[in-house]
Amino acid sequence: DTAVSQTPKYLVTQMGNDKSIKCEQNLGHDTMYWYKQDSKKFLKIMFSYNNKELIINETVPNRFSPKSPDKAHLNLHINSLELGDSAVYFCASSQGISGANVLTFGAGSRLTVL
């Protein structure tokens, strides 16, 4: 049973389209995240939610909108996709916001914008 699952694993789309990536965790964790990994493998945090409340919102274009309907789900919607949005997007979760908590990652969603 996958701890952090994200769908789809691969997404190929045209510039200008709108797309969503879904994430669910069954670990009972309170905190969920979206990370972006670029072509150079650099991991950068985008958003973090704790108990459905947004607590980290890094400098990300407002075309990206996260939504957390409950603490087990964190979805990412992207409007008006651009070439530079091509990346692997990782969902992750942790038990809380204490530094003692370990991040558990999903398998990643590779987004390719043509």
Binding site: T31, Y33, K40, K41, F42, L43, K44, I45, S48, N50, I55, I56, V88, F90, A92, S94, G96, I97, S98, G99, A100, N101, V102, L103, T104, F105, A107, G108, R110
Partner: protein, 115 residues
């Protein structure tokens, strides 16, 4: 500013040999946690090992161990008896107690284990 530096973009090691990946970090905080994550070709990020900064004893996890030098802000990962399945990107990361859940990642080291 909190930063993590991995100065070795690529490394290779013969199967069964030992390799050490380096990591340095910068923080003004005194309480933090350090991690090594592994990303094999499958893309899945997997926790390898964790170290609490307040603990002097170096963490070990089977063939994986760390050399934590708090004063030098250094956190290297040693892999003993390297196996083909160790081929992966390795990311060093840390989180401070007071920045909540803001993890800081290094740029990664690509390790290839040669048969």
């Amino acid at each position: 500013a909190q930063t993590v530096t991995q100065s070795q973009p690529e490394m290779s090691v013969q199967e069964a040999e030992t390799v050490t990946l380096s990591c340095t970090y910068d923080t003004s905080e005194n309480n933090y946690y350090l991690f090594w994550y592994k990303q094999p070709p499958s893309r899945q990020m997997i926790l390898v090992i964790r170290q609490e900064a307040y603990k002097q004893q170096n963490a070990t996890e089977n063939r994986f161990s760390v050399n934590f030098q708090k004063a030098a802000k250094s956190f290297s990962l040693k892999i003993s008896d390297s196996q083909l399945g160790d081929t992966a990107m390795y990311f060093c990361a840390f989180i401070t107690i007071f920045t909540g859940n803001q993890f800081y990642f290094g740029t990664g080291t690509s390790l290839t284990v040669i048969p």
